[in-house]
């Protein structure tokens, strides 16, 4: 791996410590830097994810999600940009299936990332990405699951020197395709970003981008 590519690691060889929102293919997609096969076909001997993803805000719908992805009329980066208004900062973003329909979700810290989670307003924007303009609904989190998850995301983004847009840019430099999920995570006690990319061949690739912390 060249020094230029050092910050970007194809994820396969990593077990993610304390992962909160990983997705089932992440281990499978890590076979090797040259791995390109469909995630489902990857060796079953790969270690299982440390944790089972929760139902919401995790792109665990696999093939069905990828089948609908071409219907999205905006890219993840555009959704992130649309969410980052009035001082808000995006913490994670992904396309996902909601009741069988394609949805775009962006978690935000409405007061930016200078304020900690306790003093921030943590929210999610979700909306139909097949419609233009994207008109997301906002939910300010009040429940334990989403508060703790968004707080985790915010803290990791605060530890990073990168914006989500930069993370996506770096991931695409390593693995061309369409990014459908970007989430902060922890690997070996270091903050990273999981970036999931759909390739033109219909494959799902997980790229880990070091956070620069």
């Amino acid at each position: 791996m060249t020094s230029q590519l050092k910050p970007i690691v194809i994820a396969g060889l990593s077990l993610v410590l304390a992962a909160c929102g990983g997705e089932p293919i992440r281990n499978a997609a890590t076979a090797a830097p040259t791995a390109s096969g469909p995630a489902a076909a990857l060796p079953s001997s790969m270690p299982a994810p440390a944790e089972v993803p929760s139902a919401k805000h995790e792109p665990n719908e696999g093939a069905a999600l990828l089948a609908l992805l071409p219907m999205a009329k905006l890219e993840l980066t555009q959704g992130i940009a649309l969410a980052e208004v009035q001082g808000a900062r995006a913490l994670s973003a992904k396309f996902e299936l909601e009741d069988g329909k394609l949805s775009l979700s962006v978690y935000t810290a409405k007061k930016g990332i200078e304020l900690d989670a306790e003093h921030n307003v943590l929210a999610e924007l979700t909306g139909d990405p097949t419609q233009t303009p994207w008109q997301p609904k906002e939910e300010v989190f009040a429940d334990a699951k989403h508060l703790t998850r968004a707080s985790y995301h915010l803290t990791l983004v605060q530890r990073s020197k990168l914006t989500l847009a930069t993370v996506i840019e770096r991931a695409l430099a390593q693995q061309p395709g369409r990014v459908y999920s970007v989430e902060p995570a922890i690997r070996e006690r270091s903050p990273i970003f999981h970036v999931l990319i759909a390739t033109s061949g219909g494959e799902r690739i997980n790229v880990d981008v070091e956070s620069g912390a």
Binding site: L17, A18, E51, D116, E118, R159, R189, A213
Partner: protein
């Protein structure tokens, strides 16, 4: 001659109200001052609280002596499932008990509210991204400043996880130290 109770209390209540308003602005400072005044009466230290969390199989994520309701308390935040589980899949709680009692008998509260959930989640995430333990940070801080650490809270320092320590020296000085994993 004695005044009726109500008449005697009213001026006092007005004064108390005014004092209360003024006190709102300086509550944090007052709490700190009262904490420091009572600190010598503590019969228990942070290491005991950290050990209590570890004995139960959890990971401590912050600890402090604090003043509240006229008492000195020893409090520790913990994650039941340790550092390998993120906040969402963990149980975040506090052990808190009277620090001046002969035996520290903390009550356990599992967090359900936004303030504590987000605070504890952030603290857990910070402790998950460092090799430094609270025990090591406290030990280093006490050795460095020759005092007693009465607060150890994970924080961000230049984009890295660190632990902010509050130390009371034998001369009565109060110091803050930000300890990261590279600190000697």
């Amino acid at each position: 001659m004695t005044m009726p109770l109500r008449a005697r209390l009213l001026p006092g209540l007005s004064l108390a109200a005014a004092v209360a308003l003024i006190a709102l602005g300086t509550h944090a400072e007052d709490s700190e001052a009262q904490l420091l005044a009572l600190l010598a009466r503590s019969k228990h230290g942070l290491p005991e609280a950290l050990a209590a969390v570890r004995t139960a199989g959890g990971a401590p994520i912050s600890a402090k002596l604090e003043f509240g309701d006229g008492k000195l308390w020893l409090s520790v935040y913990g994650a039941s499932a340790g550092l390998d589980k993120c906040a969402e899949k963990n149980e975040l709680f506090e052990l808190k008990g009277d620090a001046t009692a002969d035996e520290w008998k903390p009550e356990r509260e599992v967090f359900r509210d936004k303030e504590h959930l987000t605070r504890a989640s952030a603290q857990l995430t910070l402790m998950q991204t460092t090799q430094l333990t609270l025990e090591a940070a406290i030990s280093k801080g006490e050795a460095l400043k020759k005092g007693i650490v009465y607060s150890a809270i994970p924080t961000l320092k230049d984009g890295k996880t660190a632990v902010t320590l509050r130390v009371r020296t034998p001369r009565g000085q109060t110091l803050s130290i930000v300890m990261d994993e590279k600190a000697k």
